[in-house]
Subunit: 106 residues, 2 copies
């Protein structure tokens, strides 16, 4: 799967937001926009802040190609979601990259 | 795949290290330690530092369970690699979490 492209976001949410609702919106978005091949999120509740730097959630979206990713980020629904997303986060790191896979696609 | 467990590392390497060599060592490690279900890495060469916070590489390891992850991090080869890894990085974020997957495993 050398051509897969990943959109990776680490997030620390603001304290007064309902994280579950935001993740549900993101899941809905991933379902509605066809080019999203897969969507995974996770919440690290155990690692030391020395490792997490305060980030609590990871979001990993996988696309078949960079072109599909570009289609996603220019989709009106993602544009709208992103405008909302920046209002609920304390901080974030975003990395977008062609995925080099071993052992299996993941 | 509700039980999958992910080990996610974002890295900014020191300027004088040969990143390709380090990633090759990591690939070798992922192959040698059976519990690693899949291993993916990527290099973001395009996103603005406002998004990447200076992190350039992402490493995503997937395990069938948290127990398998624990087996991995206590494996002598990983312990040895980790001791080396901290000497070649400028900074890193590490998140470990049970993966909540949609659309497909990824």
């Amino acid at each position: 799967m050398a051509d897969e492209f990943k959109h990776l976001v680490l997030v620390k949410f603001k304290e007064d937001v309902v994280v579950e609702d935001i993740l549900k919106q993101l899941e809905k978005l991933a379902h509605e926009i066809d080019v999203v091949k897969s969507f995974v999120w996770g919440n690290d509740t155990e690692s030391h802040e020395m490792l997490t730097q305060g980030y609590t959630h990871a979001i990993i979206m996988t696309f078949n190609s960079k072109e599909d990713y570009n289609t996603y980020v220019s989709h009106p629904k993602d544009v709208e979601f992103s405008a909302f997303f920046v209002t609920v986060i304390d901080k974030a790191v975003v990395l977008n990259f062609p995925a080099v896979s071993f052992k299996a696609s993941s």
